[in-house]
């Protein structure tokens, strides 16, 4: 349903995607997109969504090229990495607004119940905690029941109960025959839900296949250790100053140095 053909993208001098060839054809499958920070995970996802415009290559969704198109996005539910909402709106206002802008939501009530958002419906978004906002974010993303689901760091800020709910939801969606892409840093989450992984490194697809295949290839029985093994072989080039322009706007990205070191140590 999604194909990427030699997708290249640079931000300034920083070549983020250096020719990605990928296709996701099988529905009912969960693919985790992994890679160190700056490896191009989010850029790839945003290219599929048409938010980032690749310089080279083509992307199609449902056999339609995505360049300068917008209507194809009605086949995709997207959960952004972090969402900041208009602070003066209440949760229910935001929901009805999104539903007004993009008609066709069918599961909003169900999701509200599952995440226990009812008490918050009349509260202003500015007054919500990060975790509650993330629940709202997930609800907004999933309420359309589209055939393709893309999650960018869905676990951030969630409490264990919500995490369980999310996992269950993702499994259900898989069983209902959806194509699901997920990026995350939580390897345990990957091992629990993903059918296969795509490992991006320096803008290229380093590995694609089932988790077990990666473990076998590195020769360890732990995914985290396997990835650490790969990274040890390929020391990460620290992002050049050009990327700071893009990074500064994004609070999570500001933590990059810390995350990088934690990745290496692991």
């Amino acid at each position: 349903m999604i194909t990427c053909n030699n997708v290249q993208k640079a931000f300034g001098k920083n070549q983020v995607l250096q020719g990605i060839d990928l296709d996701f054809r099988e529905s009912g499958r969960i693919t985790a997109i992994l890679g160190p920070n700056g490896s191009g995970k989010t850029t790839l996802i945003k290219s599929i969504l048409g938010m980032v415009l690749p310089e080279q290559g083509s992307i199609t969704v449902n056999e339609q090229p995505v360049r300068k198109q917008w209507a194809y996005r009605s086949a995709i539910d997207y959960l952004p990495q972090i969402a900041r909402f208009p602070e003066n709106l209440t949760v229910s206002e935001l929901m009805s607004m999104i539903k007004d802008i993009r008609p066709g939501a069918s599961r909003d009530q169900e999701l509200i119940n599952r995440f226990g958002l009812k008490p918050f419906l009349r509260k202003r978004l500015g007054n919500l905690s990060g975790g509650t906002k993330q629940k709202v974010n997930i609800t907004l993303a999933m309420m359309y029941d589209s055939p393709i689901l893309i999650f960018d760091e869905p676990t951030s800020g969630l409490d264990p109960v919500a995490m369980q709910t999310l996992k269950a939801l993702i499994q259900e969606e898989k069983e209902r025959g959806k194509l699901i892409l997920v990026t995350t840093h939580i390897m345990q989450f990957v091992e629990e839900v993903a059918d296969e992984i795509v490992f991006l490194l320096e803008g290229k697809t380093y590995f694609r296949g089932p988790i077990q295949a990666l473990k076998d290839r590195v020769g360890v029985d732990d995914l985290e250790a396997a990835i650490a093994g790969i990274l040890r072989e390929h020391p990460i080039v620290v992002a050049s100053p050009d990327t700071t322009r893009r990074i500064s706007a994004n609070p999570i990205r500001r933590k990059i140095p810390g995350l990088l070191t934690s990745f290496k140590k692991a």
Partner: protein, 260 residues
């Protein structure tokens, strides 16, 4: 686009800044009307305020709103909506929200005062109209600057610079030219320089509607003649429309080529 516009307007009209802006104009206008009771005088005082404040607030608000709604904009970008619809909708929503504050803030006191029966109603209308046009122009320009600059500090700096140039420095250079080239006939230059800058154009359009235009002597007569005939009206309308069209087109151009 209309739905985005609707929600942007709605969101902004509920922010405390919009109330503050509205409250300021309400107090200022009502206070002046109460103190002087002379519509002409109040129009002049309001003109001074509007020519400075409308561009300034529109610029600052425009850039602030753009940066503050960036993440939400990304959410919208992932939806099946055109990019131009999102950004035009947000820009129009902002301009309409600010204009509403302005029109209500000035309009309510004047209505209570009974402007509808006052012959000065045209002075009042032209004042409001110019305030609204300036709001559209400067919020559009600010939005465009925001779209072109992901760095907030740089964006804010450029926006302030834009306001400073249009509202203050331009007139300084204008005056300097008049002084340096005073040996030459300067009427055409004055006219051109005025029509080119929306702040100056608004000022002259309001002044010509007021008694005070008599102070402008020969230059005023040249202006009056120009703005009194079809070409002058057409040219100044075109100038104002162009000032709105430039950021609108710029927003489209940048939005279609930008990565988010």
């Amino acid at each position: 686009m209309w739905k985005i516009l609707k929600y942007s307007t709605y969101d902004l009209l509920r922010s405390r800044w919009a109330y503050l802006y509205l409250g300021f104009f309400l107090l200022f206008t009502a206070g002046f009307l109460y103190l002087t009771g002379d519509v002409g005088k109040v129009v002049i005082s309001l003109m001074n305020v509007i020519l400075i404040l409308c561009p300034l607030i529109a610029t600052m608000f425009g850039i602030m709103y753009h940066y503050n709604s960036r993440e939400f904009t990304e959410l919208l970008l992932a939806q099946p909506i055109r990019r131009t619809s999102i950004f035009w909708g947000q820009f129009l929503g902002l301009a309409i929200a600010l204009s509403t504050s302005l029109v209500l803030g000035i309009g309510i006191p004047f209505l209570l005062y009974g402007i509808t029966h006052d012959p000065a109603i045209w002075q009042f209308m032209i004042l409001l109209l110019n305030g609204v046009v300036l709001t559209f122009i400067f919020s559009g320009l600010a939005f465009w600057i925001g779209l072109r600059n992901d760095n907030r500090i740089r964006g804010f700096g450029l926006a302030i610079l834009l306001w400073l140039v249009m509202a203050v420095l331009y007139d300084g250079v204008f005056l300097l030219c008049l002084i340096v080239f005073r040996e030459y006939p300067l009427d055409s230059f004055s006219l051109f320089a005025t029509v080119f800058n929306p702040v100056d154009l608004s000022r002259i359009m309001i002044l010509l509607k007021l008694d005070i235009s008599a102070l402008m002597g020969y230059t005023g007569a040249v202006f009056q003649k120009f703005f009194g005939n079809g070409w002058g009206i057409l040219l100044s309308t075109l100038s104002l429309l162009a000032w709105i069209a430039i950021p609108v087109a710029g927003i489209r151009y940048t939005a279609l080529r930008k990565d988010f």
